[in-house]
């Protein structure tokens, strides 16, 4: 790290005593965070830690260039705090969440609305933004959508077919996971971590496991970390293949849509070979997973991986060759690189706007410290770019799995987890298939979890979808929505 910063440095997947975290009065803390963001750094997480009657703000920033994370906290305060969103749009959703969870009001926040809670009026009610003009009409696509997808409310302001403004109201999948974690980890915690977002089970479970291991001061055995990396890449393969198929399905291109649907099932079955569950439930446990793959099981997995990769190659070739598909994908749902940086996009959505952001590359942890996966980037920022980034990631994950399955480290995959250190802060980032999953945990004096903050990549990216739709035709919304394919339950927790 070639420049100084007032924050404390912290590498991904390690812990820091709560006392060593630098502390400033509130205005000075916010000024420091603002300064770092001005320098182009990224805000991973900003959350409140209640302390007695007052509240303390904690900020976790990622210095991608410096390959390190930094943390800082404010002194306890009560009442309101000056909003960062005025100058840095990245923080707008975090501040709304702090207001909703702890009641501290961000002063002159431009868009202070409920994030997920039902303030007596329900998530999809209240003063939606309205465009004034005689010929404007609203299209409200409510919580229950036409297909089999999660509930979310989209309020379009349209002049005929053209969308002028889209406002997204979520919170329907809110199950109160963070509230249940206080005083954890309980018996059900690992199962709740696996069901934060079902299709990102491995990423969330790995982040939770490495956070606890950091708090306990140990590290999972190498074979367990290797197994987690294999499962993470299999999960990425399955979801990206599913997305390519869904994108083809949205433009009614039947060859790829039907093929990719089946191949996604095959990749999920590969994960099921390791742990019996198609989504990898039970594979990752703090301190190393219970299941171990025998050599012949891994060999069989290797062959079936080859056939599936060949099939997805064939399906994708049809997609890229069809001119009618290309005309639908290009210049639809366009996001500029500047917009992506300002709102802090992560994952394939950011990489499709030309931003080189990948936790496996910038903040390697676990097995990714030893095996590199090149970052897949595409410059245009439209649906085509997002589809191409997914295709590149399928190829590179396939390559990574071929290498790693041939050179498996030996050793035990299970080791007991010592008790957690008291008054310690740990942060773990994992590159889920939708982007950076960030778990931050703070233990109390008794070694139990005092505050646990989960940030799903969709938390950063939903604003991106709302911006991508401005000026588009409303008939292109399902295509843009599927090109992002964000998680509703990851956002709602």
């Amino acid at each position: 790290m070639n420049r100084t910063t007032p924050f404390a440095l912290l590498t991904n997947g390690t812990a820091l005593p709560w006392a060593d975290v630098p502390e400033w009065p509130l205005p000075e803390f916010l000024r420091h965070v603002g300064a770092e963001l001005d320098r182009g750094e990224r805000l991973n997480s900003l959350f409140g830690v209640p302390e007695g009657g007052a509240l303390r703000l904690v900020a976790v920033l990622a210095f991608d260039a410096g390959n390190t994370l930094v943390v800082g906290r404010s002194r306890p305060f009560s009442g309101s705090f000056p909003s960062l969103t005025a100058t840095h749009s990245q923080a707008h959703l975090f501040e709304r969440e702090i207001w909703e969870q702890h009641g501290a009001v961000p002063e002159n926040h431009p868009w202070l609305k409920a994030v997920r809670k039902d303030h007596g009026a329900g998530p999809a009610v209240g003063d939606f933004f309205r465009v004034d003009g005689r010929e404007i009409h609203e299209v409200a696509v409510g919580p229950v959508h036409a297909g089999i997808i999660e509930p979310g409310h989209f309020r379009f302001q349209c002049a005929g077919e053209e969308v002028l403004h889209l406002e997204i109201a979520l919170g329907f999948q809110h199950r109160g996971i963070e509230e249940a974690l206080a005083g954890g980890p309980h018996r059900a915690t690992i199962y709740q971590m696996e069901t934060v977002a079902g299709d990102t089970t491995i990423a969330h479970a790995t982040a939770y496991a490495s956070t606890l291991e950091a708090l306990a001061g140990t590290e999972a055995p190498l074979r367990a970390q290797w197994l987690r990396a294999i499962a993470l890449e299999l999960e990425r393969l399955a979801n990206h293949t599913g997305d390519l198929g869904a994108l083809a399905g949205d433009v009614a291109f039947l060859p790829t849509a039907s093929a990719c649907g089946k191949i996604r099932g095959d990749f999920l079955n590969l994960t099921a070979m390791l742990c019996g569950n198609r989504f990898g439930r039970g594979l990752v446990r703090p301190g190393g997973g219970p299941h171990d793959g025998g050599t012949e099981r891994l060999g069989k997995l290797r062959e079936r991986l080859e056939t599936s990769l060949a099939e997805v190659q064939q399906a994708a070739v049809w997609l890229w060759d069809a001119a009618s598909v290309r005309t639908r994908f290009e210049h639809t749902g366009h996001l500029h690189r500047k917009q992506a940086t300002e709102i802090g996009l992560v994952g394939p959505a950011a990489r499709a706007c030309g931003l080189v952001r990948d936790v496996r590359f910038d903040h390697p942890a676990g097995w990714f410290r030893f095996a590199q996966v090149p970052v897949s980037v595409w410059p245009d920022g439209d649906v085509f770019a997002r589809a191409r980034v997914r295709w590149l990631e399928i190829q590179r994950s396939g390559e990574f799995l071929r290498e790693q399955l041939d050179a498996a480290p030996d050793g035990e995959t299970r080791s007991p987890l010592p008790p957690l250190a008291p008054d310690t802060l740990a942060v773990a980032l994992v590159e889920g298939w939708r982007g950076e999953v960030c778990h931050a945990a703070l233990t109390g004096a008794d070694g139990r979890l005092r505050r646990y903050k989960i940030t799903d990549p969709s938390f950063h990216n939903w604003t991106g979808l709302a911006l991508a739709l401005r000026g588009q035709a409303i008939s292109d919304f399902p295509l843009c929505n599927k090109s992002f394919n964000l998680s509703y339950c990851g956002f709602d927790l």
Partner: protein, 266 residues
């Protein structure tokens, strides 16, 4: 030429739909374990090893009565199987889990070592929906894994369409609801309105541990612990998430197309 290439490739690959239910059922992943079996007789006198291990209190052992396992709350994590010293709780590897009544999922009593499989719909509904069942899916909370596995049934391998079962866009066209997720408080109104919008006669199917009893989020103040609290449920399919084969078996068992399809194909 592109068109010619795709057509030739398709015809070469032939039909990728599985023969089930006419042919043999595809194998579950061998570490999946399938259904559970509870012989309360084998329990030692005061042993409660399994109760301490279960994340959602699915296993209970009240002081005077024998051990009881509620498969509706069970996440099939098989921790209790590992923890039980005498092997009272075992995995049968059976993929058939669908039941018609909530109490059919409670195992442990003398005659109820295993779950009582779902029977066919009553005659009037069966004759109406046997060949054409249109379902409206409602995702009310949950983690999107059950939705993913229900979606997989539409792909070419499982091909739900061949049974005349289809997921439709509007509840007006639907004959029933397929609910996933623990019905969060925020989704309660939407679920009620969707149910009201479906014309009678209608059925309700709860898929996944969340929709039956709240799954890993049982007891959270933000959820209703399952669809049964709000709506009359006709079919429960436990699992977290239930394997697509289990969901498919539940659906065609409900319509009575399982045994008669044994006689002829499709």
């Amino acid at each position: 030429m592109f068109v010619h290439d795709t057509l030739l490739n398709r015809l070469k690959r032939g039909c990728a739909t599985m023969a089930y239910p006419a042919g043999p059922a595809p194998a579950l992943p061998e570490r999946h374990g399938g259904a559970l079996r509870v012989e309360a007789a084998k329990c030692q006198a005061d042993c409660a090893a399994c109760v301490a291990v279960c994340p959602t209190e699915a296993v209970t052992r009240p002081p005077d009565r024998r051990v009881a396992l509620d498969l509706g709350r069970c996440l099939f994590c098989a921790e209790c199987v590992k923890a039980c010293p005498t092997g009272a709780i075992t995995q049968t590897g059976d993929h058939r889990l669908a039941v018609r009544r909530r109490e059919d999922l409670v195992l442990g009593e003398a005659g109820n070592e295993q779950l009582r499989l779902a029977g066919v719909l009553d005659e009037k509904l069966r004759r109406l929906f046997r060949r054409s069942l249109k379902l409206r899916q409602v995702s009310a909370g949950g983690c999107n894994a059950c939705e993913a596995d229900t979606n997989v049934l539409g792909t070419i391998g499982w091909d739900l369409g061949r049974f005349g079962i289809q997921f439709v866009a509007s509840p007006r066209h639907a004959d029933g609801l397929l609910i996933t997720g623990p019905v969060s408080k925020n989704m309660e109104l939407a679920l009620q309105k969707t149910y009201a919008a479906v014309p009678e006669p209608r059925i309700v199917i709860a898929v996944g541990a969340c929709a039956i009893a709240g799954g890993p989020f049982v007891g959270h103040p933000q959820v209703h612990n399952g669809a049964g609290v709000l709506l009359p449920v006709d079919l429960f399919i436990p699992g977290c998430p239930p394997h697509p084969l289990t969901i498919l078996d539940g659906l065609i068992r409900l319509l009575g197309r399982l045994e008669e399809s044994g006689r002829k194909t499709g």
